[in-house]
Symmetry: C2
Subunit: 220 residues, 2 copies
């Protein structure tokens, strides 16, 4: 058990990664809280799914509105008039990047944890399949952890169980945690808003499906 | 001129410090933008004052709602049912501390700057008269600057012209910038919501008045 106590706040969006993290947290901590955000994402429906997932896991879930993110920047994830990049452009970030998003999410999660007297924060970011998003990198997480601790003069510990996992490894972890079916059937990863196996052709679905296929083949 | 360009985003709350910073930024940068927040502070009136100050300075001002801060934590600045600490308690932070506030403000200012293609951010935090708030310290600012740069893969430069200024020095700087009267008569620092010289007895007024007195004595 970590020096920083027996409870944790998990960032839960209702996707494959954060749902797997929710169950990882339930295994490693005695008391788990979850936090999610409405920030003008295309499929706010994912928040409802997350709500159900949290209920099923008996984890209290709070949802916060942060429309400021949408107002402050233009990207295809929060502006439906922009077509989403199917692949990462060679010379820039994909236009699905919402600048500052993960830092703001971690910031609010930390304020919530502080108010609860909780020190551990769990987030499903991964550098392995990170599509070039800078705020999924390990170095960023280390840096923002230090900034949060300095900001509030408090000992936060950010846990990133998926940091070095590709999607195949995330499926394997869900299976080891006994929640393979929950993750497969109840989560939303698809950019087109189709839960479970999704639309099958957007970049998120392709990544998820390839990982699943690899994991199932290995498991046979 | 800084390597990071000729424009800047200033965090403007309508108080003495941020108003002085606004004019400092106008002196050092060709194009200045200001950003402010409604976050459930006791005296939202300060945002209206900030609006007037920005107009007078011909600086575009955007205001964002972030009620999440109020919902996530209990403190006397955003909860009027809690009496404000008159002085810093010996063994804890004053209850006027809003956990995570400056980091969230800087985060949104950075997202705004990113969307404008601006690299410089100016904020009026000060370690000299910081009342024990951890998110006013220089080390925090350096850390959050690094985190923001990593989060967005972008070169931000956070400027803190008041970092080592006590209130006397802030009055002197306003005078040197030619805005002593504007700062004295149009800003709101008072915890009880009285503009200009304020209520005269809250901690913020006492600090401001002492600095003013010392500066005026020195100037004679």
């Amino acid at each position: 058990m970590s020096k920083t106590g027996k409870s944790a706040v998990v960032l839960l969006s209702g996707g494959q990664d954060s749902t797997t993290c929710l169950y990882w947290a339930k295994k490693h901590f005695e008391k788990v809280y979850a936090i999610g955000f409405r920030y003008g994402q295309r499929h706010e429906f994912e928040v409802e799914l997350a709500q159900k997932i949290a209920e099923q896991a008996s984890v209290p879930y709070v949802i916060h509105e942060i429309q400021t993110l949408k107002k402050l920047s233009r990207n295809s994830l929060t502006n439906s008039d922009i077509a989403m990049d199917a692949e990462k452009p060679a010379d820039s970030l994909p236009n699905t990047f919402v600048p500052g998003r993960n830092m703001i999410f971690l910031n609010y999660a930390a304020v919530y944890a502080y108010s609860l007297g909780v020190h551990n924060i769990v987030t499903g970011v991964s550098q392995a399949d990170y599509s070039g998003y800078p705020d999924c990198r390990n170095t960023f997480i280390k840096s923002v952890n230090a900034s949060l601790n300095l900001a509030m003069d408090y000992e936060f510990e950010i846990h990133t169980p998926l940091m070095w996992c590709d999607k195949e490894a995330v499926w394997q972890l869900a299976d080891e945690l006994g929640v393979f079916d929950i993750v497969r059937t109840q989560t939303l990863t698809c950019y087109n808003g189709v839960p479970a196996d999704g639309c099958g052709h957007c970049p998120a679905c392709t990544l998820r499906a390839k990982g699943l296929e690899k994991y199932l083949r290995k498991k046979q």
